[in-house]
């Protein structure tokens, strides 16, 4: 593993601008699941845990600016949601906004906060996310799910997100010989990991047989190939190097932040079996970090459906194209291996409160890189990668983190 570079240029802002190092100094998340609390309570739970995790303490009033990822599921507080959640958490004077990129909303919130701190404009920033999905009736959920793909053509062709990923899976099976067992092995692994995560929505293991025989949602995907609808909040504190050193002895450095977008509709993309946004964001993130897939110890990848983790393995470079299924099925990405993928349980078992997911992935890396992940700790983890996808691959944010 190559040593970290102390400073690097920021491509987004022009190669001549010197960017500051950015650390995560505190992080929190609510327990995920069907929660009785209100949206404001869930977000506040995450914010307060994040503040409390800062070694030498931090008050919300010390935060200079905030980015909150949310789809706005259900539409109750669709406007000014960022300001609402931050003021309800106790920070009415903090400049805040909602970041919306579907399921990648808070991955982009982390990125936007990172850019603000790296640029020198802000020293202490809050990034997080929130979604409350289970308060809606099933009838309403059917209208609010599937609003982030291409609505005019995909949705009105009756395609859901499980449907679009099922079509990707079908084509992947056709081109590369990926099997139902490969898909199911993702669910089995992530449920095994989720069983060790007290904040996961599903804290139980499942068998391959059970995953294979579950009811079909969108052929070839069964209900156990799909993540669930979940409530949850996530939040973290980002700080400049100087502030980070003052606030903690165990910062987690953001070595790279990268993002990419792509056509919303699967039918508009060059390939039906590759998420080009993942490829581009992953490549840029590794390049900026000066690292490669082999350097990663813990990866939180966007497994909204089992096929999505297989795609992530390939498109991030952990496996050759077509070999993602066999890689997962071999058990090589389970706890106990060099590379542990979705130690948190992933979206599959931890739950997927859309807007909260991206920051929650980074939260898991924060725990892992500080050695605080308990029974699901990847021993000696130093480098982590978070991969957050919006829609069926329209947006993607990738972060590479390193233990301080």
């Amino acid at each position: 593993m190559r040593p970290a570079r102390p400073q690097r240029s920021c491509r987004e802002a022009g190669s001549t601008v010197r960017m500051r190092r950015v650390a995560i100094v505190g992080s929190g998340m609510s327990a995920f699941g069907a929660r009785a609390e209100t949206p404001r309570e869930l977000f506040t739970e995450a914010v307060h845990e994040a503040l409390g995790s800062v070694d030498r303490g931090l008050a919300l009033g010390d935060v200079e600016e905030a980015w909150v990822g949310s789809l706005g599921f259900g539409g109750a507080q669709l406007g000014n949601l960022g300001a609402y959640l931050v003021e309800q958490a106790g920070g009415p004077s903090i400049p805040a906004r909602r970041v919306e990129n579907a399921c990648a909303s808070s991955g982009f919130a982390v990125r936007d906060a990172y850019l603000a701190v790296a640029s020198g404009a802000v020293d202490v920033a809050l990034a997080g996310g929130l979604e409350k999905m289970t308060d809606l009736t099933p009838v309403h959920q059917r209208y609010w799910l599937g609003v982030s793909g291409d609505t005019a053509w995909e949705r009105l062709a009756g395609a859901t997100f499980p449907g679009v990923y099922a079509m990707i899976a079908r084509r992947h099976m056709h081109e590369y010989g990926t099997t139902r067992e490969h898909l199911a092995s993702v669910a089995v692994k992530n449920h095994a990991h989720g069983a060790k995560n007290p904040k996961a929505q599903f804290r139980r293991e499942i068998t391959l047989e059970k995953a294979l025989s579950a009811p079909t949602v969108a052929a070839p995907l069964t209900v156990l190939d799909c993540c669930s609808t979940t409530d949850g909040g996530s939040a973290m504190i980002l700080a400049s190097e100087a502030r980070a050193r003052a606030l903690t002895d165990t910062p987690v450095w953001i070595e790279a932040s990268a993002a990419a977008t792509d056509h919303l509709a699967l039918h508009d993309r060059a390939s039906l079996t590759t998420l080009a946004a993942t490829e581009r964001a992953g490549r840029a993130a590794f390049e900026r970090a000066g690292l490669g897939p082999r350097d990663v110890h813990v990866a939180e990848v966007h497994d909204c459906f089992t096929i999505a983790e297989i795609l992530a393995m390939e498109d991030l470079g952990f496996a050759k194209k077509g070999e993602g299924g066999p890689l997962v099925a071999s058990g090589a990405t389970r706890l106990g291996n060099d590379l542990v993928v979705n130690a948190s349980g992933g979206l599959k078992a931890k739950g997927h409160p859309l807007g909260a997911t991206g920051a929650a992935q980074v939260h898991e890396l924060f725990l892992q890189l500080r050695g605080a992940a308990g029974p699901r700790q990847r021993a000696g983890a130093e480098v982590g990668l978070a991969h957050n996808v919006g829609g069926s691959g329209a947006t993607c944010a990738v972060h590479v983190l390193r233990r301080g």
């Binding site: 609010w144 949705r155 009105l156 009756g158 395609a159 079908r170 052929a219 509709a265």
Partner: protein, 463 residues
Amino acid sequence: MEPAILGAGLAAGKLRISADEMRRAWGHLRPRGLATKSACAWDEDAATLAVEASARALEASGADPEEIGLVAVATSGHEAASAVVAEALGLRYARLLDVGGRRTAGLAALVAAFDSARAVERPMLAVAVDVPRAAPGDPAEQAEGAGAAAFVVGPGAGARLAAAGSAAREVLGGRILDAAGVARSPDLDDVPHGLFEDALAVLGPLPPIDALVASPVGTTLPGPGGKPLAARHTLESAERRLGDLGAAQAPFDLALALADAEPGHRLVAAARDAGAVTIVHLEAVTRAAVAGVKAVADGGRPASVHQALMERGAFAAGAAIPEEPLGAYIPPATYTRDLPARYRLEASRCGACGRLAYPPPAACPACGGRAFARERLAGRAVVETFTVIGRGGSPGEFAPEQAFAGEYPVAVVRFEEGPRVTARLADVETGRIAIGLEVEPALRRLYRQQGAWRYGLKFVPTS
């Protein structure tokens, strides 16, 4: 130039209910001689059947869609399907005429097309379509079938209208629609005495005729010497296989007769309902091009009485599933702006780099150009991948459909011109779907919102 029927097209509902199934469901079967009847699948209605038959007629005729001067659509109900037909086929300059309420309306629309084509030397389109309308449990429903016949009438060779005759009398209470808008077949006694004779007198003397069709089936016309009018060939009405097609019955059987007619043959078609009779006398100058005969005979999937009623949405339980938008929502105005692409596969050819894009983009995905020429895709496509959305898993817009019709397939299809689109597949068993399946578009109902059906293209296995 004397106008003629240049081409005709047929279509029928995609469900087939056997006489045995009807006997099982009802305990009896009233219509005599019925072998099977047709009914609309969930995604069909009078408009989609009219489009299907019209597309076949237009192709058979070789007419230029933008030359069509009139679209006359006749039913026994009160749908205004002419606008959907015109949009779907690109009949951009046509006068729309919706003729409703009577069994005689189909032949009346055909005569109107001839009259228009005589006045202006352009092709005209006449369509007759009917679908089951009677309520569940109403014995009248037993007889009702779903079908459409369309004719392109214009200058050229085909079957010319030798004569047409009609007669009308007011019959109290004899309208063919009841209070609920349900078609009723009046008893023969409802036709006032002498009406046929009057209409035949207008028609003028008849030479020996080769084919005779009459609706309702079994109707006889008074002939010479007090005997019923007879023809050299006895035709079996499509009613035996498709059910009573109402306003479309006489036009449908006439199109079947035209398909069999030799040059020089004389054909007579008659329709009656309470207080109205219309009779046409055609001469097949050349062989007429009639499309869809085989597709109608071979197509359709077996269904139970119950399934057909569910797919028609005839049961009140459907009301429990909201049709109002509860989240994702595309306003009708936005939807309407896309209709050329949604109905007619209009793609965008970039004026700068020549790249063909569909669905139409705001800027060329290859070069960013914004000047486009509209270009219609041929519609030939191949399934690249697909899924089957399980019951209960659809977007909200399709929840009512899933409640009645269950799972449905969705595919990404690639057109032979290059672009791809995501679309529903129809008229195919899920077990038959495979990557590589060749498909073609068919206009169908997609979903209903705010009281209006939204139509679009699905893809069906290539015929």
